[in-house]
Amino acid sequence: MTSQTVSIAITGAGGAGVMTAGQMLLDAAAKAGLYGLMTRSSGPQIRGGEAAAYIRLSSAPIDCPDDSFDVLFCFDWMNVDRFAAELPMRPNSVIIGDEAAKNPPTMITDSIARQVLVPLSQSANEIEGGRPNMIGLGILGELAGIPLDALQAILEKVLKRKGEAALLASLEGVKLGMKVASDLETEIGLDLHLERKATDKTRWSLTGNEAAGMGALRGGVRFCAAYPITPATEILEWLAPNLEKVGGTLVQAEDELASVNMIIGGSFGGVPSITATSGPGLALMTEALGLAVSAEIPIVVVDVMRGGPSTGIPTKSEQSDLNIALHGLHGDAPHIVTAPNSISDCLFTAQWTVHLAEKLQTAAIMLSDQSLGQSRNIIDKPADLAFVAKRDLVEDGVEDYKRYALTDSGISPMAVPGIKGGEYVADGLETAENARPSSSAEDHYAQLDKRQRKIDQFDYGQHWAEIEGEGDLAVITFGSVTAPVREAIERLKEEGQKIKLISLRLLSPALPGPFDVAMEGVNKALVVEQTHSKQFYRYLRSVYDLPKNTHVLAKPGPLPFRPGEIVDQIKELG
């Protein structure tokens, strides 16, 4: 697979049009029948600081960064060194710079990669209204083998509202860039053209945050209360206009305490409800999450994780909210924790999570992260899913209704306002079956057992984990780390090594039965996670029996896992 992908980084000062060029390159690649992934990075300035776009294109679906970049294209040298750690290069990588730019930083001059200069500003100047980034787009498009018509289609789509002149200037820039590139290809012997297969599948371009929003909608969510926070805001911003289209609504709340309690209110009213946040906001929601567990009101909170602790590194990815998601509620408060294992899986997992919350009448936390949420991916249009919100409700006119009835499944049929005879008081106090507050040991044990039972006994089917391959070594992971692990395993497979991948989508409850089955034949494990304190490994240890021979590769953010480091680690295990 690796030979069929090309990784390109574009950097430049604020206003240089890095993100625009990157996004167009990705979209054009998709138009041309390729797949791809694009991640954004920027400096500390609120706006207008240096920016970087990291793009990986491929003939086959792709959702993780490669070990290093084939091409680093610096539209200028402005603070490019800030991105140094995010820009691994190889000796045969190429750094492309602008002839007109002065004083490349040492990070560039000392790089192991090859370096070439192109007439970027100069070419732009040749065109009336020309912009260097369009020359750059042309160069990169040509290098990756994207045909002009695909680039042109995207230009037309994006620049429509900017008028004919702008479109023409850009188009000319792209063409000029393509010419510059073909000279370059021969000059330095670059061949990055990707094979393009014909397909009739519809392609989608979306971020994990958009996918999560869509999954929620598919799952039946019709109410959201929102307080913005990086990197979760886009879920909320996507939901606001789209909920409206399907008869739902979004309220902007004054804070996270309000947003989570608002969705509890909405869901008490029978409307499947969601909010999205990141670590600091999740911390503010745990009291109410406990209320949802205790009062058995379904809600979903998507936590798009970022670097912690505290405000941490808000624009970068990390998996370190695992602990709080699993254990951040006071008291014995069994709830659902899920994690999507790819950008496109944000859709599936969000939908499934809504389904679980609704079915099990409890709080569910979906752990996404910045790298899933804010990266854009080209995928095949996903299939429709059967999971939709479906609460067990009592009938209108019910008599002697017991809201917290002790059932075998642990699920007590719910009433929602409008249902006659169902009038009850949802409560955070412990209650008897009839919803009246009770401090008796008997009621407490019975309700604790029930709330645990309903989530333990539920049939999660095969969805609790992605299990791939066979081997006596299992790599156990979750979330965004799944993609680099998968690629690492595939590379090793090519070398003849057999390794099993277990990526947990359902983090809580633990399912010892299915886990043991998955671990059959495994005698060695490697746990890979993006935290500092081995949170995932510690959690696995606490609920599952791991092989004696278990190793951990834990690395905090802000840098992403790359397949190569996982390959190295596995090789080291021998």
Binding site: V251, N261, D427
Partner: protein
């Protein structure tokens, strides 16, 4: 509010549950329970279409003593849950309730923002100027020289909170004060509040016989508020800012656009999904 189709009109007793309140004998909250149930009866709201939402405190126990839907949530968040419920289910009659600690201390932010947001619901605060449930600490409305709590043995030393004045500044469109000693008057105010289109706030002075026995004096002090122009912001602002907190009645009322997003389904999911296509 549509009249329900039923034989006999519901009386206030029909809105009470058979569950015995945990309140101390003589607590003002008994009267507030009477007032709320009377207001519900006056408006003949179908039980299944109304909900009483509260936080935590003696006063916040009230939902369980009614026979409508209820939510006894967590401390300070009644208004947030009530907002969510009403916005998601605009067909319901929603009454948020609670105490001065719940509403103005831990819940103060939601109070302000609920006033601004103007969702069509009613908020009834049983103000006893104390935290009853936790055994008698000063609340925001407690006079600064009250030395009855071990937590503030020399008094709070802090200006007491003026909820009506804050409600006005924050944009509330209906502001009233009642007294538990006059449950019928209070019932009338609450019914008026429920009929008001938008967010209505009713403070009920509700004595705590256990931790503030001196509040027995209140019945001598409360009076009808001497405000004539209840629709003028400036007048109301000056009146409420300088009032001693014992003027009862509707003290401000205006009409402002209510917050109720239209919720009309006009797209299919696949239409939305199409936006992801390249």
């Amino acid at each position: 509010m549509e009249q329900p189709v039923q034989q006999k009109p519901l009386t206030f007793k029909d809105y009470k549950s058979d569950y015995k309140p945990v309140w101390c004998p003589g607590c003002g909250d008994f009267s507030v329970l009477a007032a709320i149930t009377k207001a519900l009866a006056e408006l003949q709201i179908p039980r299944e279409n109304s909900a009483v939402i509260s936080g935590i405190g003696c006063s916040s126990r009230i939902p369980a003593y009614t026979s409508v839907y209820g939510f006894h949530g967590i401390h300070g968040r009644a208004l947030a849950s009530a907002t969510g419920l009403k916005v998601a289910r605009p067909d319901l009659t929603v009454v948020a309730t609670g105490g001065d600690g719940d509403g103005f201390s831990i819940g103060g932010n939601h109070f302000m923002h609920a006033c601004r947001r103007n969702v069509d619901m009613t908020y009834v605060v049983m103000d006893n100027e104390v935290y009853g449930m936790t055994k008698g600490q000063a609340s925001p409305t407690t006079p600064s020289d009250w030395e009855g709590s071990k937590l503030t043995p020399h008094g709070t030393g802090v200006s007491p909170f003026n909820p009506l004045s804050v409600a006005l500044s924050a944009g509330a469109s209906f502001i009233a004060r009642g007294f538990a000693g006059d449950p019928n008057g209070a019932a009338k105010l609450i019914a008026q509040a429920m009929q008001h289109k938008g967010f209505s706030f009713v403070q009920i002075l509700s004595p705590c016989v256990t931790f503030r026995p001196e509040q027995a004096e209140w019945k001598k002090i409360v009076r009808k508020g001497e405000i004539t122009e209840t629709g003028d912001l400036g007048t109301a602002a000056a009146f409420l800012a300088t009032d001693d907190g014992f003027s009862t009645g509707v003290l401000y009322e205006t009409q402002r656009p209510i917050y109720q997003p239209s919720m009309e389904e006009n797209h299919s999911l696949s239409e939305i999904e199409a936006s992801f296509e390249l």
